[in-house]
């Protein structure tokens, strides 16, 4: 019994990590219809922000260092939200109503983010700065006469290419100077470690003889709070009202004076920010690296599809279900809890009792479930043919 309870706790905590990761995606996918494959990489950005904040707090002494984590959570939210808004304004905006295209484009974004984190260094940042400043300035101060010519868009592209080349030249020039401290990548391809503050380490008391590990409980509480926050934001706040209005009928909302452009940016920003918070939470569970996103993205989409798109309750239930199944099956604790089950059942349980095989079982379960409920547990109601 104790074992089952502790597995259950494990499952809920795995589920709440999934929930943290999937809430942002549920907003972006459910409300905007954007398939954001870079969501996992936004989580990774959040994790790295946490790492940076931790390093900034280190010289401040032991007492203040204990406070770094809440600061890191907030910082992770805002930094990734800014990244998200930037993405929305430059890229996603061009692709509304074409979900498959957003899927491919955001995958491109995710590749760039991964490699950026791996190889970002001072020369590289300077080079990118040169590119961006040159590109914007030249395109801006081009004579009006040329701007109105039919080849202007191609010319703009050429100017950007040229400034990108100049940026690359800058990078290689600065790298060529050969200052090792300057050229060193900031993070590099290796995993980074974040030390949890003392008040999170260790146990937070026990229930019925089972230790409650602080980090896990903290993550469960954090995901519950965030979920409540999101629910409040969407149902009670002014912007939430606007977001829901735009989701239901974009043109009508526009006619009624709702700034749909800002609504899109804010929705995507909030969704990305939540990814950042999820990333910050994941740093507590172990070391994180540039490839962090890949481990979560498919599971997150599964949670959303299983729960029903655009439904927060469905997201909660689905993520808890997946977390619990994964922890109970993957650890093989069913065998220990029920030692005298029939041989066939025992063989089946043993077959799936590894992490990767428990994934197999979960994905098969989801694909099977969708045979009966193709739109998830809590489908959106509507009369569309395309439902």
């Amino acid at each position: 019994m104790e074992l089952v309870f502790s597995q259950l706790l494990d499952g809920v905590s795995i589920g709440s990590v999934l929930l943290l990761a999937a809430t942002g995606l549920a907003i972006v996918f459910g409300l905007m219809g954007v398939i954001n494959l870079a969501h996992g990489e936004l989580m990774m950005v959040g994790a790295y922000v946490t790492y940076v904040v931790q390093n900034l707090f280190k010289p401040l002494g032991e007492g203040l260092f204990q406070l770094y984590y809440p600061v890191a959570l907030v910082a992770a939210f805002f930094v990734t939200a800014v990244v998200g808004v930037f993405l929305e304004k430059t890229l996603i905006r061009k692709l509304y109503g074409r979900p498959l295209e957003t899927l491919l484009a955001t995958w491109g974004v995710s590749l760039i983010l991964i490699q950026f984190v791996r190889s970002v260094s001072t020369p590289m940042v300077l080079g990118i700065g040169v590119t961006v400043i040159l590109g914007i300035l030249v395109n801006r101060y081009l004579p009006k006469k040329i701007k109105s010519r039919p080849f202007a868009p191609y010319l703009a592209g050429l100017i950007w290419t040229a400034s990108a080349l100049l940026g690359i030249v800058t990078i290689s020039a600065i790298t060529g100077i050969g200052n090792r401290a300057l050229n060193k990548p900031w993070f590099g391809p290796r995993n980074i470690d974040v030390t949890a503050p003392k008040w999170l380490q260790g146990s937070w008391g026990s229930i019925a003889g089972i230790e409650l590990p602080g980090i896990r409980i903290f993550i469960i509480i954090l995901s519950a709070l965030l979920l409540l926050g999101v629910a409040w934001f969407l149902t009670k706040s002014v912007w939430g009202l606007r977001i829901r209005a735009v989701t239901q009928n974009r043109q009508m909302s526009n006619c009624l004076g709702i700034p749909t452009d800002s609504v899109d940016s804010i929705t995507f920003g909030v969704g990305s920010g939540l990814a950042g918070v999820a990333g910050a939470a994941i740093t507590l569970l172990g070391s994180v690296g540039p490839n962090l996103g890949a481990a979560y993205i498919v599971s997150c989409f599964m949670v959303i599809v299983l729960g029903g798109v655009g439904n927060l309750v469905g997201t909660v239930i689905a993520s808890m279900m997946l977390g619990i199944i994964q922890s109970i099956i993957g650890s093989g604790s069913l065998l220990i809890a029920f030692p005298d089950m029939p041989k066939v059942a025992a063989a089946v349980v043993e077959f799936f009792a590894t992490t990767s095989m428990s994934y197999v079982l979960i994905f098969i379960f989801i694909i099977g479930f969708l045979q009966f409920k193709p739109t998830g547990m809590f489908p959106q109601k509507g009369r569309s043919v395309e439902a």
Binding site: I35, P153, Y359
Partner: protein
């Protein structure tokens, strides 16, 4: 001129078949052989995405299944010190203490059976997966997500089963023997290169056959408005299942050819990234055309080799940029851009070519040319 345009691909093919082996080093030739085999899976993706509008992110499953089929056959029939263990089975079985060949590998002792299995197993799996998905009218992004989940099922399964398929290590074919030659040797690789070049046009003709005529029209109908196809009395499910099945079979053939030329098949072929990359080859080349995917697969992979040889770190930036560029600025791909007037409109923007005053087809239409004469008031 029209005849010339029709002949160009075949001339290029003959060039690749006869001239490239003479002028390229063995290493490059082998790489090109791989690109051409990847072009076959790209053709399949174009069939389902470009023509039917189903974006599958799971083609890696079928690709790897084909690869595993041929690799296991080669490992089984080859008897040399590199590949065979003490019990007469492929060496890796020894490491996990497997004495009897798992039953599902038994048919792979025979070469003809393997040749059929390479495409029929992926096709059947694709047909099954497809039927289960299409039957429920799951489509659009949900189809993509579910194919990706299926990909994860296979990926984790093949990673987790050391005793059956050697887990993460995969199966190595370079030391095995085919027709009395070591597969990794130069002669065998040249032969495989030519085999790839013979199969590629057949794959192309198969796709051409499927996309022309009523079947092709039905596919395009499903892509453009599935609800309307249904309301006019067609059941889209069989069409989608068949086309998905064919794409799966093509992926299997492609995977087998790729495996013997790269020397290994591993669960990495079923990683998420591989399957999405396949899609981008089609997008770069031009979806909805059959030449496009071949161009795209060869070009993108060649670019990849060049960039990763020069500056390995830059490849992900280039690839990511390619994804964004193609989706936002060049949705028709290279071939579509050339043929659908993109190139012409660029030239005319720079004042090199004349700007068309109206739609060119209208200019040539007799009826339209007559109109001003008949309707001008006197």
């Amino acid at each position: 001129m029209k005849l010339f345009r029709k002949l160009v691909p075949w001339i290029l093919l003959a060039f690749a078949f006869f001239v490239l082996p003479e002028i390229l080093s063995q290493f490059r030739l082998n790489l090109f052989g791989r690109y051409f085999s990847l072009a076959i899976v790209a053709l399949g993706i174009d069939l389902i995405w470009g023509y039917t509008g189903l974006l599958s992110l799971g083609q890696g499953i079928f690709f790897a299944l084909g690869g595993y089929a041929i690799a296991m056959h080669l490992l089984l029939v080859t008897k040399n010190d590199f590949t065979t263990g003490a019990n007469g089975l492929p060496k890796f079985f020894e490491n996990y203490g497997v004495d009897n060949l798992p039953f599902f590998w038994e048919p792979f002792w025979s070469f003809p059976v393997t040749l059929i299995a390479i495409w029929i197993i992926p096709a059947v799996v694709a047909g099954l997966v497809g039927y289960l998905i299409f039957r429920n009218r799951i489509k659009g992004v949900y189809f993509s997500i579910i194919t990706q989940a299926s990909l994860m099922v296979f990926y984790h399964f093949f990673n987790g089963q050391q005793k059956l398929v050697n887990g993460t290590n995969g199966l190595k074919t370079s030391t095995t023997e085919l027709f009395g030659m070591i597969v990794g040797s130069d002669d065998a690789q040249l032969l495989l290169y030519r085999v790839t070049l013979i199969i590629l046009p057949f794959a192309y003709l198969l796709c051409k056959f499927l996309t022309s005529g009523r079947f092709g029209d039905a596919l395009i109908g499903i892509r453009d408005d599935e609800a309307r196809v249904r309301f006019t009395g067609f059941n889209p499910v069989p069409f989608k299942v068949i086309v998905f099945l064919v794409a799966g079979g093509l992926a299997g053939i492609s995977g087998a050819l790729y495996t013997v030329q790269s020397g290994i098949v591993s669960p990495q072929y079923m990683a998420i990234s591989m399957s999405i990359e396949m899609v981008i080859w089609v997008a770069v080349g031009g979806r909805g055309t059959l030449i496009g995917p071949i161009i795209g697969a060869v070009l993108v992979n060649y670019l990849r080799s060049l960039v990763s040889e020069a500056l390995p770190e830059a490849w992900l930036f280039v690839q990511g940029g390619l994804f964004i560029f193609v989706v936002v600025l060049m949705p028709d791909g290279i071939y579509g851009w050339l043929t659908k007037g993109g190139a012409a409109s660029m030239l005319s923007a720079f004042g090199i070519a004349k700007r068309a005053k109206t739609y060119p087809s209208l200019d040539l239409d007799e009826q339209v040319n007559l109109e001003p004469k008949t309707i001008t008031p006197k």
